[in-house]
Symmetry: C2
């Protein structure tokens, strides 16, 4: 059955009253690229004033929590580091706390500085990543440089703008050791930017999955590992929490997998037909509204 499409002030009021904790996807909900969605600043101020807890939850794997906060600050959406959860941070927490990563092992990073920063924060040794030896690789390929290395305990893959054959071949070489784990920050096939979608983390790491024939461990939305990282930092009543997102496969599925109510906002990557068409997507949100910024009608004049 199609979910309710909230449109009236009364429906908005009822929604906000029923929620203590807002888990917010970022790109597509709060902003598109560098453009903040109309009304969103007002909504965030209003929610904070009402004492609501706000947590930003993004699969972005290139930014550390520190960088996410900077992005929010630059957009005039004030956030504390504790409110920011990216898949880079969640991956580092998972490796450190759940895997109890051995102190004598390193993580080979297929990813950027943000991922390295979070590993540093969690005290996990790493290599690859922004190392110029890998970034500045030029073909032709010298296969003799790819050596097994038992000190690599995991290959961690996020978004890597510097994707090249050497990075892929090194990852594969290390994964020949069955003890070496394959961990992906997320499997998003694309990400939206400049009004179009481009290859995302999941599409950049899929060569490693395909060539190694490994079943990777995936941390980001829609997986519960991401919620475990959030719950390690924030206590809240799941029955009074709401996951807000624009993506059925990541945000809404994440809410459902974590048994938290979900609100889909339009204007992002999901098309109206995917929810209300004749053959809707199998992932159905609990609620739909046009834009998260529309809640601004509930704000006092002083909060606008």
């Amino acid at each position: 059955m199609a979910p309710p499409f909230l449109k009236s002030v009364e429906e908005y009021e009822k929604l906000v009253d029923s929620v203590d904790t807002f888990l917010l996807d970022c790109d597509g909900v709060l902003y598109h690229g560098k453009q903040v969605v109309e009304g969103v600043r007002t909504v965030l101020n209003m929610l904070r004033k009402k004492g609501k807890k706000i947590i930003f939850v993004t699969n972005n794997a290139t930014k550390s929590r520190r960088k996410l906060k900077e992005t929010f600050d630059q957009l005039g959406l004030n956030a504390s580091i504790d409110e920011c959860f990216g898949s880079a941070y969640a991956s580092a927490v998972y490796i450190s706390e759940v895997l109890n990563f051995p102190k004598d092992k390193k993580v080979y990073v297929f990813g950027e500085e943000g991922l390295e920063e979070e590993l540093d924060q969690c005290g996990i040794a790493h290599c690859g990543g922004s190392d110029p030896v890998d970034r500045e690789f030029k073909a032709p390929i010298d296969f003799t440089v790819f050596k097994a290395d038992d000190s690599i305990g995991a290959v961690l893959c996020g978004f890597d703008s510097w994707i090249n054959y050497q990075k892929l071949a090194k990852a594969m070489t290390y994964l020949r050791n069955p003890e070496c784990k394959l961990i992906l920050t997320n499997t998003d096939p694309t990400f939206p930017t400049h009004g179009d979608v481009f290859p995302g983390s999941g599409s950049l790491s899929i060569p490693i999955v395909n060539a190694s024939k490994r079943k990777p461990l995936v941390i980001g939305k829609p997986n519960k590992m991401m919620m475990d990282a959030i719950l390690a930092h924030h206590m809240f009543d799941p029955s009074r929490a709401l996951m807000v997102g624009d993506n059925l496969a990541t945000d809404i599925a994440f809410g459902r997998n974590s048994k938290i109510r979900t609100l889909l906002v339009m204007g992002g990557v999901t098309k109206y037909e995917q929810v209300f068409g004749e053959n809707p997507n199998e992932v159905v949100p609990d609620l739909v509204m046009n834009s998260f910024g529309d809640l601004a009608v509930l704000a006092d004049a002083s909060e606008q």
Copy 2:
């Protein structure tokens, strides 16, 4: 039921007598890297002397037929260009003859010079490929350079040692046009070299498939398109042909899909257990032997 494992001179003789046309996979059957398999030169000389037709069939997508012939010549395995069928050539033939590629359209190449050379041979306009603009891309990514281009009628993906984000993003940009086709030379996840396997064509193009959500057209083994390209050049009786290979998923499946008898040789990528173990692979060859070079026992002293 497990296939017969040929071991005796009598079995070898019976096999050779029953075959007029030998379709031979290359790496893993004739040579390993730069090392010719023992006995193979003798076997090829003997088969030619007996009037057998020999066709080399490889998914290698970086080499034109001209380059394949050069490789064979350097290894002392004399071949004519007409005997060489690589997936680069088969792809160009398919685009030119089957797709009737429009004269005013170009192919965007995710691949190397060999693929470009075969497109040139077939008179197909192309861009990308070895163009330094794409090869020398350096992050950070400038998303504004990715522009739709309706003159691109197909994206053709092979093995590209220069894989980078710009190549992937350009391919994806062109594939937003539903008229633009996605063609893969092959989907081999890995290829063997230096005694190990490394990411192959199929693992390098999978980001484009994953991000574009397209169902690609795949030319190389095990697909029938490859056989169509061979049959456009060579007449032979399929009931007296034999596909010889070391890979169940490509070579042996190719023979089966083309309704041609198959011979698996060990010593390549297939493990004994995959054929004779308790849970054998679903692709079963008609015959197995240890090495194609073992047929050298049939040669006269003058052919050794």
